[in-house]
Subunit: 147 residues, 2 copies
DNA sequence: GCTGAAAAGTCCTATAT
DNA sequence: ATATAGGACTTTTCAGC
């Protein structure tokens, strides 16, 4: 799929505000609305635009601590763990990484007590290393060209 | 801010598809469009809804390798690093974590050669540990209630 | 805080270049 | 592959409950 300058401009705007009106996109890129709609459709069909999401700020709902947890899964527990982890509400991401049988988890909890509770539930499946997020310098960047 | 069952339903739908029409939200939750619009506005104002994003699938653009990199920043380089890292196109997230002066980076590259190139650019600022993403079991979950 | 109707605005489809 | 224009639909505004 070819992404020209105009498509990058459209992608940039949709990444920054996915609820932007077609009309405003059209004005910005200097094309008509139907043309922009068609370009978006093609990028959706090609999977370049994967989805449109509202981002919920969990800290505003009382989940003040962000955490990353690595877990070295106990031998033979991988399948059971992968099924289990999708049911844990505190965990928003789970990536299987190279190196030392590691899973990387991202989660949010209310307070240290809540974190301890989460750790206990996870520790069944392997050895944990827990780190608090002190500050997110960047989270969810807008891509606006090839690199 | 109070999130009742109806607001959770709205939040769920907007997380799953942020371009959903107000009309469809209204039908789904059994309220009129103006009421739904008002509820959304209040959640935006309270910051519970932080933003609306289109998610770009970088693998469809040729960036096939996902990576997580931890970097133990060299003494005194933190400020310079934080400024620098926002200018690196391959890196989409940067979190400062507790423990061993660690920054956690998430990135995407075309191939191993591209990864080596990225590592060389980052290694100026500290010691790296690089892991490839083998599989993302979960990435960007939909929250639909308190936990 | 919610509704319903009317006004304003946006989007879609067809037609044309 | 893009533009224009009309009709259809959606969103917003506002009076009333």
């Amino acid at each position: 799929m070819k992404i020209d300058d105009i498509n990058w401009k459209i992608l940039k705007m949709l990444q920054e505000n996915s609820r932007v009106a077609l009309k405003d996109l059209a004005i910005e890129v200097g094309l008509s609305s139907p043309t922009v709609a068609e370009r978006i459709q093609k990028m959706e069909d090609a999977g370049v635009i994967a989805s449109y999401h509202a981002k919920v700020d969990l800290s505003k709902l009382g989940y003040l601590l962000g955490v990353y947890i690595t877990i070295k899964i106990r031998f033979g527990q991988t399948e059971r763990f992968e099924e289990f982890i999708t049911t844990v509400p505190e965990i928003s991401e789970c990536h299987k990484l190279t190196g030392r049988d590691c899973m990387l988890l991202r989660g949010s909890v209310r307070d240290p007590k809540h974190l301890e509770d989460l750790n206990i539930r996870l520790a069944v499946y392997g050895e944990l290393t827990t780190s608090l997020v002190l500050n997110s310098i960047m989270d969810g960047k807008t891509y606006d060209s090839h690199f």
